[in-house]
């Protein structure tokens, strides 16, 4: 029996995908769930897994080639390598016979031992990912133990794989970041061909810039109180969740709360009507090491607590950086946040992600001299100050509405009792 492998539906609006790499060669034994190939669309890159077992008998669409959704890209059969055009029916003869005692299929693979250096434990998933990703276990174990953990789990391995600098000789890692120019963007005089993701992003941005009358506003926000809470809970949070609590979740939470009062911010505009969204599906712009930009969506963000939103954002950023986003992660956003703080910029005027009507931008938050009013008079004091900006579609609403929204975000950031949002036991 042979089975055909087709280019899967990779999202509602995606018609074709480009195969970047085949993880298997003709003649390889395939198990259900094995990664077969990596495919790139204009929105996302992802691995496609086998849903049947057998031997890969034919690859019809090789690496670098594009196939329409539904097109046959390979055949899994009895493993006899075939020349293109050969008869499909000959691909397999007898159906695979299974013993009645084989009620479950036990995997025969081995991916190392349950205990690693210094007696550290490894989950089965971690062991498989380390072996498939070609990671150095000693290095990873040391890193995990430095963090005070006794166990290496899948998340730790995925983080290590995504943090690893891309080397041309590395084996095809199952969670490789999207290919393209290396993080060092060439030397002077080089011509860089943009990958599909960047080309499509470019087309969409140009279209949005051409058709939407953008207005940008920014407001100065005092993050001193947020910073105090953040610092006080930093270590407990890091220990509990394995990543640090940044300003972004506070801003995202404040944005969700402000949207409740200014719902037109969270809407779609089609030229004639503004459709307000029930949920806040918050897009978070993520830079892929200067190799493209994706905006994964945190669904129903307003239902999440500060901790919940922090974890959801972190998860989406991790998934994006390790190339593990699914098409549904990138659709359905109703408002977006662009965070450019890492490089110390003062403000950024972002382009709206149509058909959304606004996008928030945050930049560096740092100590600045500020005027503080007290009963004793006004004083100059060092405060943590940052800009929160918004580009909005002037057809959807006016400057006063946007300004009132920004002012509300500012008020929430500055005056909310953030301690209450973080459980004391963390």
């Amino acid at each position: 029996m042979s089975s055909t492998i087709i280019m899967p539906q990779l999202g509602e609006t995606v018609a074709e995908g480009k195969i970047l790499v085949w993880f298997k060669s003709v003649g390889d034994e395939i198990k259900e769930g094995d990664n077969l190939f990596e495919v790139e669309t204009d929105k996302v890159t992802m691995e496609v897994q086998a849903i049947v077992a057998g031997r890969l008998s034919e690859i019809r669409v090789g690496p670098g080639l594009t196939a329409k959704v539904g097109e046959v890209v390979a055949v899994i059969g009895n493993g006899v390598a075939k020349t293109p055009g050969a008869d499909d029916a000959s691909a397999g003869k007898a159906p695979q016979w299974r013993s009645p005692f084989e009620e479950v299929s036990t995997p025969v693979d081995r991916f190392g031992h349950a205990k690693g250096p210094n007696g550290i434990h490894l989950t089965p998933l971690a062991r498989r990912l380390i072996a498939q990703g070609g990671l150095d276990l000693t290095e990873l174990a040391a890193e995990v133990q430095r963090k005070g953990k006794k166990r290496i789990d899948g998340a730790a391995v995925r983080a290590a794989i995504s943090a690893r600098p891309a080397t041309p000789n590395a084996p095809p890692a199952p969670f490789a970041p999207p290919p393209g120019p290396s993080p060092v963007l060439g030397r002077q005089g080089d011509v860089i061909t943009l990958n599909t993701m960047r080309q499509r992003t470019g087309e969409r941005l140009a279209e949005a810039w051409r058709t939407i009358p953008h207005v940008f506003q920014a407001i100065e926000v005092d993050f001193t109180r947020v910073d105090r809470v953040r610092k006080a809970r930093k270590e407990a949070f890091q220990t509990a969740h394995g990543f640090s609590l940044t300003f972004l979740p506070f801003i995202a939470r404040a944005t969700c709360l402000a949207i409740a009062a200014y719902p037109q911010i969270n809407a779609r505009f089609d030229g004639k009507s503004l459709t307000l969204s029930r949920d806040v599906n918050l897009g978070i712009a993520v830079d892929l090491d200067h190799n493209g930009l994706v905006v994964p969506v945190v669904r129903d963000a307003s239902s999440l607590t500060l901790i919940g939103v922090a974890k959801a954002i972190r998860r989406q950023i991790d998934q994006a950086r390790s190339g593990r986003l699914y098409p549904e992660d990138l659709s359905g956003g109703t408002y977006s946040i662009s965070n450019n703080g890492a490089f110390g910029t003062t403000f950024t005027a972002p382009i709206i992600n149509a058909p959304q009507v606004g996008i928030l931008s945050t930049d560096a938050i740092r100590l600045k001299p500020a005027i503080v009013s007290t009963q004793e008079g006004d004083f100059v004091a060092p405060r943590m100050i940052g800009m929160i900006g918004q580009s909005f579609d002037h057809r959807a609403f006016d400057g006063a509405y946007s300004a009132a929204f920004l002012s509300r975000v500012k008020q929430i950031v500055e005056t909310r009792n953030w301690n209450e949002e973080i459980p004391s036991d963390l």
Binding site: S105, D109, T123, P124, G154, L304, G308
Partner: protein
Amino acid sequence: MAELTYRDAVARGIAQEMERDKRVVFLGEDIGKAGGVFKTTVGLYEQFGPLRVRDTPISEQAILGAAMGAAMTGLRPIAEIMFADFLAVCFDYVANEMSKLRYMSNGQLSCPLVIRTGNGGGVRFGAQHSQSIENWTMMIPGIKVVAPSSPVDVIGLMAAAVRDPDPVIFHEHKALYAIKGEVPEGEIIERLGTAKILRPGRDCTIVALALMVPRALQAAETLASEHGIDAEVIDLRSLVPLDTQAILGSVAKTGRLFTVEENPRLCGWGAEIASIVADEAFWDLDGPIVRITTPHIPLPAADHLEDLALPSAARVVETVRRVLNG
């Protein structure tokens, strides 16, 4: 779409099949004029008459014996055993007779019948009328076992059970009879052995059955909003055949598995699933498989004790949170 209770869905599911196929007959205690002790069969006697809708004496053995004979001779009976606990009274028919007939007769005879029964606790009926015995039935070779959690699945799975060529035990949950759900017009038919992913998620897989399904869903919402844990909830719907592909596919994605079972822990259905996943999906597991079950005790009749014994949404939240966030 019209809303229907789980209770009314039982009657509609039976009526759908009795209208379609004259060979479908229905028998049990007080199921006729009385409309069933749980009012699940109201209107069937009036619609189909005393020949096809038959009240029986209080004898589980008589009910299943008659149903089996009818099935062997060309009818498609649906038999009611009022409380699932009472399947023990007629277990010989279930475990030794109807389930072995096709095999023992080398395919000359078959037994296309459905045993409907009120399973599970939460309704203060005490230790002999509240047990969740789906695991008793799951263990018998030759019997199929389904347990719907929603009105629409009651109808669809009832149709699939009646049309199946072999005996099927259909566990209705007594504590779900009052729930409502949307049910489309027209014929509804499902496929046995198909689980439903009711809530997609990334961080862990929660597998549940019957009354535990709404509780698992409620827990998943709390886990998402209060703890940032994105749980995938699977309604198994059918224990035999078991949709292992749905479970294994989900675990391949999440790396973590929790079962929420109303049956007592020892040899509960989740143990079988844990065994399959530990075997086939070993290299996808990112931590221990955790079973959330009723403890191995006779179910108490006292309200608070019964509530404490059965897995609650709060217990699911607490267990998942503790295990995942440690």
